[in-house]
């Protein structure tokens, strides 16, 4: 039940999603991945991609124009 954070601040689209894909592969089932991003397009990207792949996803706006995307590896 480990939690990994990846810092994607200032990263442009689609790098946050690509980094998350890479990181999720290394993790084990039940682990949590937190992606810190300030790219407004990433929200829409992540929502679509996690729904398609049935990955639980929650997005919190932590500051003006800054978000934390929380994913849980389930399979």
């Amino acid at each position: 039940m480990a939690e990994t954070r990846i810092n994607c601040l200032y990263d442009n689209c689609p790098i946050p999603l690509l980094k998350a894909m890479q990181q999720l592969k290394k993790m084990s089932v039940g682990d949590t991945l937190v992606i810190e991003t300030d790219h407004s397009c990433a929200m829409v990207n992540f929502i679509e991609w996690t729904q398609k792949n049935s990955i639980p996803c929650e997005i919190v706006e932590v500051d003006n124009g800054e978000w934390e995307i929380i994913l849980r590896k389930v399979k």
Partner: protein
């Protein structure tokens, strides 16, 4: 609740319908559909003039009456320049309304180089293809121009190669 309404992004479909509507209205009102990069060329030429260059003597500008005339105008007195500037301010307004504006710094030298190089390559491409994703694609295909289709297929192939490079070197 109103605040949430401002924060919630519109769907891509909504965006598509509104952009198609705006482009059609622009076309009806000024006889020309939406374009971006000709305005960029004027910005660049004005800056170069400010630095002491004389782009107005180049065939690209001198041999076209509309371009030659544009170079005698300024940032706030040229229509295409104002439309491009409007996109920056329009996007800023949308972000401020959602209270989501944040100044984002450069992450690394790699990112800086990618942006600069990618920008230069795009800019050069738009002059020889006579337009960008908007002028040579989004406004060109609906104009029933074969060129719009050729541009779209080529840009798609370019994006495929660009994607490979992005994953290999920039991730």
């Amino acid at each position: 609740m109103l605040n949430n309404y401002f924060k919630e992004p519109w769907s891509y479909t909504t965006g598509a319908v509104v952009l198609a509507f705006l482009n059609t209205m622009l076309f009806i009102m000024v006889d020309k559909p939406w374009q971006i990069t000709t305005g960029f060329t004027y910005w660049a030429a004005w800056i170069y003039q400010g630095l002491g260059g004389s782009p107005e003597l180049w065939p690209y500008f001198a041999e076209s009456s509309s371009r030659a005339q544009a170079l005698t105008q300024g940032f706030f007195s040229n229509d295409l320049s104002l439309m491009d500037f409007g996109i920056i301010v329009g996007a800023l307004l949308a972000v401020l309304l959602a209270s989501q504006f944040k100044f984002k710094k450069i992450k690394s030298f790699k990112q800086f180089s990618a942006a600069l190089l990618g920008g230069i390559i795009m800019g050069y491409g738009t002059r020889i293809a006579m337009g960008c994703n908007i002028g040579a694609f989004f406004s060109s295909i609906p104009s029933l121009s074969l060129g719009g289709w050729v541009f779209a297929v080529s840009a798609f192939l370019g994006a495929w190669v660009g994607g490979k490079v992005l994953i290999k070197y920039l991730l």
